[in-house]
């Protein structure tokens, strides 16, 4: 009946949202982490405040995988509405802990899994006296049941509770009692769990900590010197700005005067938000906004303007499933081509593609530097999976380099170059020099405009001037190729390559191990930014077949590659896409790659 999974299983808690299960799930996650076992939580939630199905997956993984699993090992079923589908998601040999009133019959009756019926409602009624707290404490009962089944020591649960209710020791105590109700019930009534086990590990989680991507990005903005931010609430980007607000309130307020070394405005819409940060960037402050797809749509005109008028701005796009409202609480890599060329006319922007929370932190700082160095909008593409889930990560590195403020002429510089031209390419890299408003020099001022302009920023409709400027902007874009974060390579000389970006990375990591176990060694290049580094084409050249994996229907990176590569390089590419709104898992890569190998072998065999 299935293999025994030690430190390698997924628990899924199926409940309805608004039922207050978040703390319980975090306590379980934290307890597993405290046993030294790497753990990856994923929240798949509805766009709703109360009453719709929500799932929380907790993956314990000795090998430190971070991606979702398609099937699960242990289900906690607390939602009648999804009972049938939830039972179907359990692997053969797995187990289900369920509310004892749920019917086990027909489709929900499987003989390859173990059922643990627990009268949660009744236990809560008899043991939790406080009616207002009952909802939350009922959830702690399943923590107790699982702790007993998985043999997680009570002291570990207690420590996790302490961390969860740091400032509320009374709440921690009440919750511990509820946990005990569950573990006592399990001890008395439930047979031991056979196929799933946790064993404490040493060394695998040392020094790691949990952080969600949105907070990591906010921390990057804090350390990168962002002082102005404007935003309009939207899932899944809101908590990025809210985290930035929280960090600023804590660390950027003068304790004596109450003065704030930042300004954050909740704007009237996303176009106003981006207008504010562009105005701030123009006037010399480091500024950012964060939004998701629908907000990006509204920002289009100003972003195109800022690209052409050459004004720094940093825009986080925490992608969700679109178009329009789409599935606002699900994940997708849907805005890659949209953000890359947002604006009309010949517009292209640097787009950073972090794949981990650590990179989100680094890219927050890098984007602020790059925007000022390049004098243009810079996008950082995150997604709901990366942004809103908690990830176990190594500690972030303290920044050692000063801010790169780019080519700014101060009053003293202007005395040496009074005939400077705002859009003149002095250095041959396409990046001109700028002055900031407020610079006390008669030659400092210039007129920033979205209309055609010459090297002196004077209005011009001259065809040669227009084309010359566009050519310079293209040169600047070429410079960006070398300044953006460069691709990450893992190569062992295989003829087969995998190319991916962003949060898809985590599924690629596991998929490559599984492919290796199936006898197929693969090389891997992870794209870290657009414009594509030269290394990408070289990687394609070195491989017979390159699988381009991404989380959208149309293969947006694949499309960009087809634009930029040579025909013989394009012929080596195969597009693999995952686009159902839940984070990609390893089998979404392994299955089609193996299938494609079989097809290619068959085609090759037929030829010979």
């Amino acid at each position: 009946m299935g293999n025994k999974a030690v430190n390698d299983f997924t628990i899924r808690v199926a409940t309805v949202n608004g039922s207050g299960s978040q703390s319980s799930n975090l306590v379980l996650t934290n307890a597993i982490f405290r046993l030294g076992v790497p753990v990856a939580p994923k929240n798949v939630f509805p766009s709703n405040i109360e009453g719709l199905p929500t799932w929380y997956d907790i993956r314990a993984t000795a090998r430190g995988y971070r991606c979702r699993t398609r099937t699960i090992d242990l289900l906690v079923a607390l939602n009648t509405a999804t009972w049938t589908q939830d039972v179907a998601s359990v692997r053969s040999g797995g187990a289900i802990v369920h509310e004892s009133t749920y019917p086990v019959a027909g489709l929900t009756q499987r003989d390859d899994i173990t059922y643990y019926a627990v009268p949660f409602t009744e236990l809560a009624k008899t043991h939790v006296k406080d009616g207002a707290m009952r909802k939350y404490l009922t959830n702690m009962i399943y923590v107790g049941v699982l702790a007993e089944l998985l043999r997680i020591p009570e002291s570990t649960i207690e420590a996790a509770l302490g961390a969860q209710f740091k400032s509320k020791p009374k709440a921690a105590a009440a919750n511990l009692e509820a946990v005990r109700v569950g573990s006592a019930y399990a001890r008395e009534h439930l047979p031991p769990l056979e196929n799933i086990a946790i064993e404490p590990m040493a060394g695998a989680t040392d020094g790691l900590f949990f952080i969600d991507g949105n907070r990591a990005a906010a921390l990057g903005c804090l350390m990168g010197g962002c002082t102005v931010s404007a935003w309009y609430p939207i899932t899944p980007a809101s908590s990025l700005c809210e985290s930035f607000i929280a960090l600023c309130e804590k660390y950027r307020v003068d304790p004596e005067t109450g003065e704030r070394k930042y300004a954050i405005v909740q704007a009237e819409d996303e176009l106003a938000a981006v207008g504010m940060i562009i105005g701030a960037g123009w006037a010399g402050a480091r500024a950012m906004t964060a939004t998701s797809g629908p907000g990006i749509s509204l920002m289009a005109e100003y972003v195109g303007y800022a690209s052409f008028a050459e004004i720094p701005a940093v825009i986080f796009d925490v992608q969700r499933v679109g178009p329009s409202t789409g599935l606002p609480t699900r994940t997708m890599q849907g805005d890659l081509s949209f953000t890359y060329s947002l604006g009309h006319g010949d517009t292209k922007h640097p787009v950073l593609l972090p794949g981990t929370v650590d990179e989100l932190y680094e890219d927050g700082m890098a984007a602020l530097d790059l925007a000022e160095r390049m004098q243009c909008p810079v996008f950082v593409l995150s997604d709901l999976d990366l942004g809103m889930n908690s990830w176990l990560t190594k500690p972030f590195a303290y920044p050692e380099k000063p801010f790169d403020r780019g080519k700014i002429l101060r009053a003293e510089d202007l005395s040496a170059h009074p005939d400077w031209g705002r859009y003149r390419d002095v250095d041959g890299d396409g990046i001109p020099y700028r002055t900031l408003p407020g610079t006390d020099h008669p030659a400092a001022g210039y007129f920033t405009r979205g209309t055609g302009h010459d090297e002196e920023a004077k209005y011009s409709e001259n065809p040669e001037v227009w084309q010359r400027n566009l050519d310079r902007l293209a040169r600047k874009h070429e410079t960006a190729r070398t300044l953006v974060p460069q691709p990450l390579l893992e190569e062992t000389g295989s003829a087969i390559g995998i190319l991916a970006y962003g949060s898809t990375h985590h599924a690629v990591v596991e998929a490559r191990d599984l492919l290796r176990e199936a006898g197929l060694e693969t090389d891997y290049l992870r794209v870290r930014a657009l414009p594509l580094a030269a290394e990408v084409a070289a990687f394609v050249d070195r491989h017979e077949t390159v699988y381009v994996v991404e989380q959208n229907r149309d293969g947006q990176l694949f499309g960009i590659l087809r634009n930029e590569l040579l025909p013989e390089q394009i012929a080596r590419l195969r597009s693999l896409r995952h686009y159902n709104g839940v984070p990609i898992d390893a089998s979404a890569i392994v299955d089609p790659v193996l299938e494609s190998r079989r097809e290619l072998a068959h085609a090759g065999g037929a030829r010979s």
């Binding site: 176009l271 701030a280 500690p395 001022g445 007129f447």
Partner: protein, 342 residues
């Protein structure tokens, strides 16, 4: 004093410095007159050119920042979206003197949202609506400030209610609202200077005839119409901070408004009871004059003690854009506590 020295302003600059590139607007366009009055006001007030940020949207009106104070930085942004950029610029460097130039289409149609929210936030800036009742740059379509029943040059009459940008501003809590006419420098220049002195958003709705598309009979934004229907609620005289106030009006007919920088705006009252500090009274006056087909001009409303955006956000006096690594980064120990190192 030599003649040359006499023609310098209080910061020692000649009037020439406040000029810009030659205008490319139609001869006789009201916007050109406003530009000239602005040059006079900026010069007289002694605005340091390097501190001036000229912000505008899109339209004939929004082109005008190129025609004054060449030395200053200009930002000719998007149609209707200048307030957001102006807000950001002010947040980045609160030492800037932000001057926004917009049109009636730019403000009352595409830009109405940003206009309202700029006022709500009381962003410290002067915001001028060069109001001609039409879209000049796109060749004469009605704007939302056109009066009901007014006609277009090539036929067509406006059936929809007008948006009064002054009434709206007062309703939204604006702290300085004035209306004037591009042809009335005597009234406009002191109002502009008072707007510069005001802390918070100062709204100036300046009726500015479009001679090419909206100066015909049937237009309510033509030179002839405005001259006939202009009703002044007060006639202003601006006295910069530090200058002695000599009141030479008859007592009882002058309202002395002290502005945020200590300067004074003396309003010679033409309408008996007009009190520019009474919000409801101002709204009533605007409404009643419109029903009578009159155009009320002057300082319609002012309130001095509202905090502006930078104050509400408790920003330091030092511009945010001047803060560096040492001011903004966490120290290593604090960082380690929240970034996994501790």
């Amino acid at each position: 004093m030599t003649a040359a020295a006499q023609s310098l302003n209080i910061i020692g600059l000649a009037r020439e410095v406040y000029k810009g590139s030659p205008t490319t607007l139609c001869a006789g366009c009201g916007h050109n007159s406003i530009t000239n009055h602005l040059i006079k006001a900026l010069y007289e007030y002694g605005v340091p050119p390097h501190r001036l940020a000229k912000m505008s949207g899109i339209g004939c009106s929004s082109k005008t920042p190129a025609y004054f104070v060449d030395r200053a930085h200009g930002f000719n942004g998007l149609h209707g979206r200048m307030p957001s950029a102006a807000t950001g610029a002010k947040l980045a460097n609160r030492e800037l003197m932000v001057l926004g130039i917009s049109g009636d289409g730019d403000t009352a149609s595409i830009g109405l949202g940003q206009y309202c929210h700029m006022i709500r936030r009381n962003v410290d800036m002067t915001y001028i609506v060069e109001n001609n009742g039409v879209y000049g740059l796109t060749k004469g379509q009605f704007s939302a400030t056109a009066d009901v029943g007014s006609t277009l040059k090539h036929g067509g009459s406006n059936a929809y209610t007008t948006i009064d940008v002054c009434g709206l501003a007062i309703e939204l809590g604006a702290t300085f609202v004035a209306r004037s006419f591009s042809g009335d420098g005597k009234q406009l220049v002191p109002l502009l200077e008072a707007a510069f002195a005001h802390r918070g958003t100062a709204i100036l709705d300046v009726i500015s005839p479009c001679v090419t598309f909206n100066d015909h009979e049937g237009s309510t934004k033509s030179y002839a119409y405005v001259k006939e229907h202009d009703v002044l609620v007060n006639a202003p005289d601006f006295i910069p901070a530090g200058k002695e106030i000599v009141v030479d009006y008859e007592p009882g007919t002058v309202q002395d408004v002290e502005l945020d920088d200590g300067s004074h705006l003396l309003l010679r009252k033409l309408e008996r009871d007009y009190d520019a500090t009474d919000r409801l009274g101002a709204l009533r006056t605007i409404h009643e004059s419109r029903t009578r087909g009159e155009l009320v001009t002057g300082l319609l409303f002012v309130s001095g003690d509202e905090p502006d955006l930078c104050e509400r956000e408790r920003m330091p006096a030092r511009p945010l854009r001047n803060f560096a690594e040492g001011d903004l980064r966490l120290d290593r120990a604090t960082f380690a506590k929240i970034a996994g190192g501790a």
